[in-house]
Symmetry: C2
Subunit: 503 residues, 2 copies
């Protein structure tokens, strides 16, 4: 019990609490919040345990040390620990210390967005991951196609920090075909879109630097930026799938002059919004004036589910040189997450810097996966596979919406014309509470605050287009049961910590 | 020319110079160095350009801004810029600014450790990468084996943050067979050993935290730690392949109490040293007392080239629970770098924390690569493939040593009994200069300071066991030519920047 692995230091815990903006703990830094500091703190620790970010049976720091690390009184820490003990999340032995625990009968800690391994799924319906099965037979065909090319590469050392030349060319040609002339020197192959974002954040946004982001935006990217020490500047989306609020973006870019702006122009995650051409042009213009680099995440761009007329032009078409607009793409959502191939399109000198820095990052992406992606893009399989993916996603979207109408008629959302996610206002109930209650009734969903900055979107959850038929029906039925449990168990607003009803 | 992509800010340049400890620029912070500050600074910028970390045609900050960011006088900056201009590494236009350049006839900037793409190799012999061709037919067979299993996984969403259960089990069984009982819950599959190190540094070593490292150690891992903001504490290796200097380790762990210690116990990169059982036990004991986590990198452990009797026990056998000793393994060196599969062995709660954090890192490793690795480990192909790899490496080692004896008889080294690298003292000449001269005569090698902390090992280069026969002969012949060029061109010690003769 005394080994370091079951202890968390005061500084580390303070860092975890601060990084977990979705929890009430950040209220410690923010005056004017109505929740007492000890409740915010207890709530933060509880969520860290439930999310698995602090393992069960971890020794917490002494009260005095944590008080000093957080800059609050020791009384506050003592009250928070007492509250956690009363709720079953802490066990203390006098003179020895306090260890995290979970109340009897409570499910084991899980992380909302972490998929369950297939051997542990049981009866849990996991709606955490907005990812679909592979569009067969295209995965198998692409892999066989890759193996035919493999002998050409097996005799090399296998390290390709910029990516295989053939794949760089194939992706450059796709941009050119979309109206944005692109050379292969403007492309780097990455290990998924996440690999691209990690490299871009490292290159452009040092610790403490500002990054403007859509509010809401993709949870894992926001968390990646927080972990890197960036200061997130949220920019509210327009209401109801109208894309960006250009005036707010202009003001933010002018006043905050962030180093980076991260946006999802096509079928935004989580809202599904599609930015129009005027918004794109205006954002790129404002970014150029502010000296901000815009990272446009096109992960969802192939997932157009309804024909709504002419498509907006790619963000890169407003800055073809790739100096102001850097584009990130990926096969993970459009094809299969198990492939893990993404890419960056940018100016050649940006690509050179990214490739240089790869020597002390992931070194390169796997060769066979790159060959499979090349086969898909060059052989025409890509169009067929993404077509299949779109019809799966469309059917799933319609099933989840129909089930919501039946089981949860007071939940509000705008049905998007593309993407893989529905952004749902949960009828005045706390999304975090519903997510917690869902774990107990067998449905896993990520709550709204994961997609926001500073605890925003407490009244939301995200639902993915990944299930249909009886499973969609059952999943939403369980969500309705979770919502009932929360509604019945919720006390008055003033008595609840950050995760309660929102206005 | 005025776009941001071709400009580097004063703060960013200062950071690059400080991170580049192999360059003379760090001397700015260190009094008592005989080289004038402006020469150190100019040398640092020159190396950043040659390594491609600052692209050619990048605008440098104004003298005043850089002086302020570095905390030196403007006169120093002006002298450094003037020196760079004289050497052809800077072009200035009065009133407009200064841009990086490379002298006419000089090869384009490259990064020493970055492999050349196959279509750009030309006549360059690239000894930057200690990686070998795939041991065929095992790569092809493993991939076909993987495709047979793929249908079981293609219907899932493909995200496995902890790794495929079957591969976790297969790797756990290998540790158990080596005498370290291991459950699959103690294993996480990563995207190469680099993916494992990125995750471990993020979990254990926050910004500013101390990490003790062998001196010398693996260049890319050192650079990864520097980029993460860690403070590296170098611990000198014993002389001539005798492994660790246990007394020095004890003192360092006791006095510096680093959060992490990073070591390569088996066929250390770059020296090839093998730590013995007594050293292993002593290091683990000292780490336990100091509260330091030891990361043991076993990337090279399969590469035993000579039978030297009984093998030392794995580091994990001195701490089977995995609380003090965390083990990192990889198929990249033992099998093929193009596969990009690595793993971590640690206590289950450490693995859980690493898996949680993966949601905002690389999400998971590619499925087909994991299936191929499982096929190799379970089907017996692993032993045959690594056997092939060992005989390739052995033949290459003997060829490079024979060529060194012929062409460079005054270079010194101890021939290791395993691994993929030879650590060579370059007869009193600067390894950095030889690396630079090598680029001009068609041989690429990494210089010693990349493997050291604070500019150490200027008199070394690293040679990999990757070529044989006529190529080894030609490579070493070119190295000899590079060494002659350096010897003839070098001025007196006092006039040279950090990269000159060493004592």
């Amino acid at each position: 019990m005394a080994e370091w692995t079951s202890a968390v230091g005061a500084v580390q815990l303070a860092r975890l609490l601060r990084s977990q903006e979705s929890a009430g703990a950040v209220a410690l830094d923010r005056p004017g919040r109505r929740v007492p500091a000890y409740r915010s703190l207890a709530d933060g620790v509880r969520l860290l345990v439930l999310e698995g970010r602090i393992p069960v049976a971890t020794r917490l720091p002494a009260e005095r040390e944590l008080a000093s690390a957080l800059g609050v009184s020791r009384t506050t820490i003592a009250a928070a620990y007492e509250h956690l003990r009363a709720a079953g999340f802490l066990e203390s032995r006098r003179g020895a210390g306090s260890w995290t625990s979970v109340p009897a009968g409570h499910p084991l800690p899980t992380r909302g967005l972490e998929p369950l391994p297939p051997d542990a799924t049981g009866s849990m319906i996991d709606l955490g991951c907005a990812a679909l099965p592979a569009p067969e037979p295209w995965l198998t065909r692409a892999m066989h196609g890759a193996l035919e090319q493999l002998p050409l590469y097996a005799h090399t050392h296998g390290d390709y920090p910029a990516g295989l030349p053939g794949l760089r060319t194939a992706i450059a040609e796709r941009y050119t075909a979309r109206g944005v002339p692109t050379m292969s020197e403007q492309i780097m192959i990455t290990t998924g879109a996440m690999g691209a974002m990690i490299a871009l954040c490292r290159l452009f946004a040092g610790r403490g630097e500002r990054i403007a982001v859509d509010s809401p935006s993709y949870a894992n990217i926001l968390q990646l930026m927080r972990e890197d020490g960036a200061r997130l500047v949220p920019v509210a989306m327009g209401e109801g799938l109208t894309g960006w609020d250009v005036e707010t973006w202009r003001h933010t870019l002018r006043d905050a002059a962030p180093r980076l702006a991260y946006v999802i122009p096509d079928y935004h995650n989580p809202t599904g919004a599609l930015a129009d051409d005027d918004q794109r042009r205006a954002l790129v213009d404002a970014a150029r004036r502010a000296g901000t680099v815009v990272v446009a995440d096109e992960t969802m761009s192939e997932l157009r589910l309804d024909d709504t007329g002419e498509r907006p032009r790619p963000m890169a078409s407003y800055d073809p040189a790739g100096s102001t607009v850097v584009t990130v793409g990926s096969a993970s959502k459009a094809f299969w997450a198990g492939l893990r191939i993404g890419w960056v399109r940018a100016a050649p000198e940006v690509i050179r810097s990214l490739v240089s820095a790869r020597a002390y990052a992931d070194l390169g992406s796997p060769v066979v996966e790159q060959l499979a992606t090349t086969w898909l893009l060059e052989g025409g399989g890509w169009a067929a596979a993404t077509g299949l993916r779109r019809s799966q996603a469309r059917a799933n979207r319609d099933a989840i919406v129909a089930a919501l109408q039946r089981h949860l008629p007071d939940w509000e959302y705008t049905v998007p014309h593309g993407g893989l996610t529905l952004w749902v206002r949960t009828g005045g109930l706390s999304g975090s509470r519903i997510a917690e209650a869902g774990e107990r009734v067998g449905v896993r969903i990520p709550s709204g605050p994961r997609f926001g900055v500073g605890g925003a979107f407490e009244g939301y959850v995200r639902l993915p287009f990944t299930v249909t038929g009886a499973v969609a029906e059952e999943a939403v039925g369980r969500l309705a049961a979770a919502a009932r449990a929360v509604a019945e168990g919720a006390g008055p607003v003033a008595a609840e910590p950050a995760g309660a009803f929102i206005a």
